[in-house]
Symmetry: C2
Subunit: 256 residues, 2 copies
């Protein structure tokens, strides 16, 4: 008996069919999954992910109650939107009690791959332990289900910050799981990357500095948003697991 | 001034256009690039890579002089062929002075991506230092060219044995190069994987044992060809660099 745990370094390396019936963690550390997790932790009622700007505007019009439009194109807040893609902007005073219609390219595209999944979680360093805990619970209850960690990447490129989180989860689950894991080579590679980062962290280098060096990190630095990387690198600052409901296409905090 | 060094964990993660004008190392450790390097080291005049079995048979008929048909499907020697895909079979007494028409799926597919490249080398652990030395020479002579390490993978899956060799080359070049390298995130990930392997090797675990665990390694073990992994894991046993000439579509030993 073993639990299947696969990592996909990019959505293009898997398919919606492969993810059907499985538990999937979508990872877009810089910044979509960090920002959505922060928004829900700060009291947002739900987040509705959209691929296109006009689709987001339409979805916002259709929503009842207090709605905010959030998201980015090329890293920058979209004209006419209330919020960008900085977790920093999603404060309690801004988002509590509200619905956020949210559009980013990489994170949302990855979520679209999960339409047939059994359960879809959003993972970030900020909710790392909550996600690992939930995966352990799933694996103990139904070890036959299988777990996939899906890295969003950036514009079709593998980005190391997503792979590092996937590796951290693989590493943690290998320790926690009472039954052996059956992993793919990409999970091994992610684990290697994370252990290499851990050594640097032990040597005194903060995780935020390691994330700055990655493809996504360099992009965020270029936007002048260094603070976002610090927020994204703060492990376990929130205890919320965003759950994507593929049927209603909404993301809400797991309250189970 | 810096030298661009990129790793592609699979051909699908790049394109022939992206490789145009660059120096590319094709990597298929288990087993195509190990076997072709061995064949040339043992005196084969040239290797002609083919994607399909019938294409290989046609190419063999057209060749003048002594010709052998080599290659595999699903790891096994093709019916009617002279040789399979085990480096072990390509002994001096079998291949010296001969042309090998060779068909494997993953390695050949990767080579097809290099049709616009300036120079195409085949890399394996068996010729590791020769390849690194040649890349250093290229980078010193024309640092503007750019280097790509292209992992073949197995049936569209990333395989760790190829990534490990790419990482070993990245690691070696980072030390050797007089000018800084500009790497992509996949190169960083490959370097992480290699350094993780190096730690295990220092702890007394042979490289062959590490390769056995990878996706390609498990496939070769299933075929009962454990010895092929040992040959593939023997670093620097030969001093030959196979060069693919994209115009004539032949692979010959570099004699420059």
């Amino acid at each position: 008996m073993s639990v299947s745990l696969r990592v996909h370094l990019l959505p293009a390396l898997t398919s919606p069919e492969e993810l059907t019936g499985r538990v999937v963690v979508v990872i877009d550390v810089l910044r979509a999954t960090t920002t959505i997790t922060t928004a829900l932790a700060h009291g947002a009622v739900q987040v509705i992910p959209c691929l296109e700007v006009d689709e987001a505007q339409l979805a916002a019009q259709r929503q009842q109650g207090d709605v905010l439009l959030g998201g980015e194109r090329l890293g920058v807040k979209i004209a006419g939107f209330d919020l960008g893609n900085s977790p920093d902007e999603y404060t309690r005073s801004r988002v509590a009690g509200k619905t956020i219609v949210f559009t980013t390219t990489n994170g949302t595209r990855a979520m679209l791959f999960c339409r047939g999944a059994q359960r879809v979680l959003l993972g970030a360093f900020v909710n790392f332990s909550a996600v690992c805990h939930e995966l352990s619970r799933v694996a103990a209850e139904s070890p036959e289900t299988g777990i996939d960690l899906l890295c969003a990447g950036t514009r079709g490129e593998i980005t190391r910050e997503d792979v590092l989180l996937a590796g951290a989860i693989v590493d943690e689950l290998s320790r926690q799981f009472p039954i052996p894991l059956e992993v793919n080579d990409q999970a091994d590679l992610a684990g290697d990357a994370w252990r290499s980062a851990v050594e640097r962290i032990r040597g005194g280098r903060p995780l935020a500095e390691i994330l700055q060096r990655s493809c996504g990190g360099r992009n965020v630095l270029q936007l002048g948003q260094e603070r976002d990387i610090e927020i994204a690198a703060a492990v376990d600052t929130v205890d919320v697991i965003p759950l994507l409901d593929p049927a209603g296409w909404t993301i809400r905090a797991d309250t189970s």
